[in-house]
Symmetry: C2
Subunit: 396 residues, 2 copies
């Protein structure tokens, strides 16, 4: 008989997906260029030309069996080694290939990392505002996701609230910096404090507490922003990366888990992840894609448009009187809504063809997210609609 | 703390993998061309040139966002439609795109299909000899795999044994035809009898019993062999396919689940599979690979070498006095060992640089598997070693 648990998951449709579908439908009526669709975090800049060129080269020159043949379930050795070397060079780490496990994006990385360091019944703490897909990644593993209240003044970590939630059952703390949805980057002070706090708690409880560091936006950090590499500050760290945003290849499902070489069972993490993948029949990401990302370590897509868009929106929102913290990275901004009910606020915005995502599903009330991974020209045109909306609905 | 369940899975290393590693090591000593490595089912013929050419075309001509952008979690609509149309044309089915869920190979397909139609505690029956990876696919889902004894006279289904194992807890029956490891294809009589038996049991128990039809070798069927399309005979069928063998792309991790349009909740299967994938963060196969396989429906690699190799081995084994059933497809043959202990038999063969896989992990004792997806020239050279081995160890 059809599994009822999964069937019921179908009922809880993602708000973001629903809004994105609304935008597509509305686009059919008035032209999609006239819908100011800030719903979806889908990169809007092309892949680096070198990436496609390298794939074509491999298709021409590598033997079919080498290129398309089985990858070991822990990933292709040369790819793992090349990722380790790149991280070592950039962040002063000492990863070896054994510490790298290629995954289907950061989603796969987080879902595997959680299963690796928790047992059923364990708790995983994350911080509001948070990416709502953490719910399925963690709650289908047998562990339980608990959300620490936001520090809405800074969207850095709220340590008082963290301390209230901390208990012996906590096996991991899941952070996301640069952050979806707030756009905020945790600064060195925050990471140092978190590290020191968790070291104390590990001692107190006599067991590991891992940091799962979800880093798909690692390469989208704006000028002058302090963006520490989390794993440098805390041994028990599993870094979860995706090439989706940095190379604009979200459909190719490629990223990795990097286990800090000093973490507990560091040399086993990759092999354990392979066992997790084995159970679901997934095994590895596409071998062509593994070779592809390893061939362009020094490159990203041209992501300057995101900072340009951020500045335009931040200035406009501020001048319209929105309470908003300036993002340090990503392609999201997270202003306070002009009424307490963010859902009502976003519904009204739809009348102006502004597609904004209410903050409720991110674990805080009263805010909204704009994903500004769209053309700058459209961002500029959207300001007219934004002003009209704010004036007509809120008299500003 | 590191998850103990997954950590313990590391201890149970696959016998096939161990033998394959032995072959690689031995190859370093005497040259790999001198190791008669029949261990691994890794396709030995190249991908069709058109497949690579089409990928290159797409990399040149499709927009980056269309090609590399997010695929819906149920798969790319045009790809699903094209797979449905191809199956309809070839097998007289009436699939719509809603019934197709792209997966990472048949492994992903089986693992998803099982989770879709079982709940924890349910039983899944399969038939010896069987592919040992079914253990992790099913036992990590909460359902329980039970193995029905083989009919060693034909390696078709042993219906008496099936009837002994059948009970109300059985939610699915997992079959694999053409079969790994026996190479046998279930004939129309077998499939009709299974269908009729399960229909009766569904009525008796008042609940669905699904057939999960694992079909990665569907396109490798030898001349004149009766190879029915299982789903035509039984409504509650989920067909699990992979392009790994037919296109020689096992590293690209691409296949699908096809839900019979008349099965229970047929229109939901794909969406439920997407929820299963969501929990593990996998989502879809690579979008480039989805487009790629959809572009070559009429093609397979040139797989004639497998039938050539089978005939050479079958004739030699028979003339050496082995008890062996002639394979109807795949690139496996499954003779009876020359002593009761197949592990001892295969260990002795290693002294002749013949790498054979004992049948124990396939759920029957006393047989061995040869994966003859290797060059014909090497098969021919291996006969000398085989004759020497049989003569010296068993006096034949």
């Amino acid at each position: 008989m059809i599994n009822e648990t999964y069937k019921q998951m179908l009922q809880k449709k993602s708000v973001i997906r629903q809004l994105s579908e609304f935008a597509t439908e509305r686009g059919k009526e008035i032209g999609y260029e006239n819908v100011f669709d800030y719903s979806l975090g889908n990169p809007s800049v092309p892949v680096p030309k070198e990436f496609n060129d390298n794939l074509k080269d491999m298709l021409d020159n590598m033997s079919s069996m080498e290129l398309h043949g089985y990858s070991p379930s822990v990933g292709l050795p040369s790819v793992k080694e090349s990722i380790a070397n790149d991280l070592n060079k950039r962040f002063g780490m000492n990863y070896k290939k054994e510490h790298i496990f290629p995954t289907s994006g950061a989603a796969g990385a987080v879902a595997h990392a959680v299963r690796c360091v928790t047992s059923p019944g364990d708790e995983v703490l994350t911080f509001a505002p948070y990416f709502p897909e953490y719910d399925p990644y963690i709650n289908t593993s047998g562990a339980v996701l608990k959300v620490v209240k936001a520090d809405t003044k800074t969207f850095q970590i709220n340590f008082d609230e963290l301390d209230k939630m901390m208990n012996e059952k906590v096996a991991a703390v899941l952070i996301n910096t640069p952050n979806n949805p707030s756009g905020i980057v945790y600064n060195t002070k925050t990471i140092e404090r978190l590290s020191s706090y968790l070291k104390d708690k590990q001692k107190e409880y006599g067991h590991d507490i891992f940091i799962l560091s979800d880093e798909p936006y690692r390469e989208i950090v704006f000028e002058g922003v302090d963006a520490p590499y989390v794993s440098k500050y805390y041994d028990n760290t599993l870094s979860c990366y995706s090439y989706s945003k940095s190379l604009s290849v979200p459909g190719e499902r490629i990223g990795y888990v990097a286990a800090n070489p000093a973490c507990t069972d560091a040399d086993l993490i990759s092999a354990i992840c392979a066992q997790i993948s084995r159970g679901i029949g997934h095994n590895c990401p596409s071998s062509l894609m593994q070779y592809g990302v390893a061939s362009v370590h020094d490159l990203t897509s041209d992501m300057s448009v995101y900072e340009t868009n951020m500045n335009i929106l931040y200035n406009e929102l501020t001048s319209l009187g929105f309470e908003v913290i300036k993002p340090g990275g990503t392609f999201y901004i997270f202003p306070k809504a002009l009424e307490d009910d963010a859902v009502a606020f976003c519904n009204k915005a739809l009348d102006y063809d502004l597609v904004l995502v209410p903050s409720d599903s991110f674990g805080v009330k009263g805010y909204f997210r704009m994903a500004y991974c769209i053309d700058t020209e459209k961002v500029e045109r959207s300001l007219v609609a934004l002003r009209k909306f704010v004036k007509e609905c809120y008299g500003r």
